[in-house]
C-alpha cells in the first residue's frame, strides 16, 4: 500500500475531492467576500488537480493539460473582476460582508 501512495489515480482524485469539498463548504459557511473568493480558487485548483491526474492515465495525449491552462487563464480573469467588484461593494456599503449585499431585496 505504501509504495502505491501517489502512484495510482484514486489517491489524486480523493485528494481533489477533499480539496473541492473544503472549498465548497468554505464558500457556503464563510460570510467574508474575500474568503469566499479564495474558496472559489480552492475549488478551481482541486478541479485542475483532477484534470492532470486523469490525463496522467492517458499518457499519449495532453488535452487535460490544455484544459487546465485555460482554467487557470479564466481563474485569473475571474479574480481580477471579482476583486474589483469587492472594492466597489466595499465603497458602496462599507463592509465586505456578503449579507450586506441585499440592495435587490426590495
Amino acid at each position: 500500500m505504501g509504495a502505491l501512495l501517489g502512484n495510482v489515480l484514486e489517491h489524486y482524485v480523493m485528494l481533489a475531492g477533499v480539496l473541492f469539498t473544503i472549498g465548497a463548504v468554505g464558500f457556503l459557511v464563510r460570510r467574508n467576500v474575500l474568503v469566499q473568493l479564495m474558496s472559489i480558487e480552492l475549488m478551481l485548483n482541486a478541479v485542475n488537480l483532477a484534470f492532470v491526474a486523469y490525463n496522467r492515465v492517458h499518457g499519449d495525449d495532453m488535452n487535460g493539460h490544455m484544459f487546465v491552462f485555460f482554467i487557470i487563464a479564466v481563474a485569473a480573469a475571474e479574480v481580477a473582476v471579482g476583486l474589483a467588484i469587492v472594492l466597489s461593494f466595499y465603497r458602496l456599503t462599507g463592509s465586505v460582508h456578503s449579507d450586506d449585499a441585499d440592495a435587490l431585496k426590495g
Binding site: G2, A3, L4, L5, G6, N7, V8, L9, E10, M14, L15, G17, V18, L19, T21, I22, G23, V25, L28, R30, R31, N32, L34, V35, M38, S39, E41, L42, N45, N48, V52, N55, G59, D60, M62, N63, H65, M66, V68, F69, F70, A76, A77, V79, A80, V81, L83, A84, I85, L87, S88, Y90, R91, L92, T93, G94, S95, V96, D99, D100
Partner: protein, 208 residues
C-alpha cells in the same frame, strides 16, 4: 518499498490540505491568503509528480505570483475592514441556513469519499508516458494547433476582464448622481472624493 515519489506525494498532499483548511477557517483574510499560497504550492508539487512541468510553472507564476498578490493588495487596501465579520451579526436565519447547507455538503462529500475509498477492485495505476509528456514544447505545440482558437479567445477574455476590472474598481470620476452615503465615505478611495470636490463644496449629509 517507499520511494522519494511517495514521500513527495504525502508532503504535497498535506501541504495542500493544511493550506485549504487554513484558508477557510482563519478569521484574518491575510492568513487565509497564506493558506491559499500553501495549497497552490502543494498542488504545483503534485503537478510535478504527475509529469506536468509546464503546468507546475504556470501554477506558481499565475496563482502564487499574480492571484495571491492581488488578494493581499486588496486586503491591505481595505485595512482592518477586511476582517468583515467583526461586530456584524448575520441577518435573519442566514447563519442557520448556511450551517445546514455546509453540513449537508460535507456529509455528502464524506460519504462519497468513503464509498470511493472502500470500493474493491484493482487501482488504476499510472502507466508509461511519452518522454515529452507535459513539457513546455509539447503543451505549447498543442495549444497552438488544436487549441489555437481557444487560446486567442482566452487573450480576448483577459483583455476584457482587465478593462472591466479597471472600470468597476475605479468608480465614477465625474458628476455622480449618488448621494455621499451611497458613495461611501471615500476614506480610502480618492476617486469619490474628487467627485465630491468637483461641486466646489465640502461633503454634507444634505448633498444630492
Amino acid at each position: 518499498m517507499i520511494g522519494a515519489g511517495n514521500v513527495l506525494f504525502v508532503i504535497a498532499g498535506i501541504l495542500a490540505l493544511a493550506g485549504a483548511l487554513i484558508t477557510v477557517s482563519s478569521r484574518n483574510p491575510i492568513r487565509g491568503a497564506m493558506g491559499l499560497l500553501a495549497t497552490i504550492f502543494g498542488i504545483a508539487l503534485l503537478f510535478l509528480k504527475l509529469n506536468a512541468q509546464f503546468l507546475a510553472a504556470i501554477q506558481v507564476i499565475v496563482y502564487a505570483g499574480a492571484v495571491v498578490v492581488l488578494f493581499v493588495f486588496v486586503i491591505m487596501l481595505l485595512g482592518p475592514d477586511a476582517l468583515g465579520e467583526v461586530g456584524s451579526f448575520p441577518k435573519g436565519k442566514s447563519k442557520v441556513s448556511r450551517g445546514i447547507g455546509g453540513g449537508l455538503l460535507a456529509i455528502l462529500a464524506g460519504v462519497a469519499l468513503v464509498l470511493l475509498a472502500g470500493r474493491g477492485g484493482a487501482h488504476v495505476r499510472f502507466g508509461d508516458v511519452q518522454p515529452d509528456h507535459g513539457s513546455v514544447e509539447a503543451v505549447g505545440g498543442l495549444l497552438f494547433s488544436r487549441g489555437l482558437v481557444a487560446f486567442e479567445l482566452a487573450t480576448a477574455l483577459l483583455i476584457v476582464a482587465v478593462i472591466g476590472a479597471i472600470a468597476v474598481a475605479r468608480g465614477k470620476q465625474t458628476k455622480s448622481h449618488l448621494t455621499p452615503a451611497q458613495r461611501g465615505d471615500g476614506e480610502f478611495f480618492h476617486g469619490t472624493v474628487v467627485a465630491r470636490d468637483d461641486r466646489g463644496r465640502p461633503p454634507s449629509k444634505g448633498d444630492g
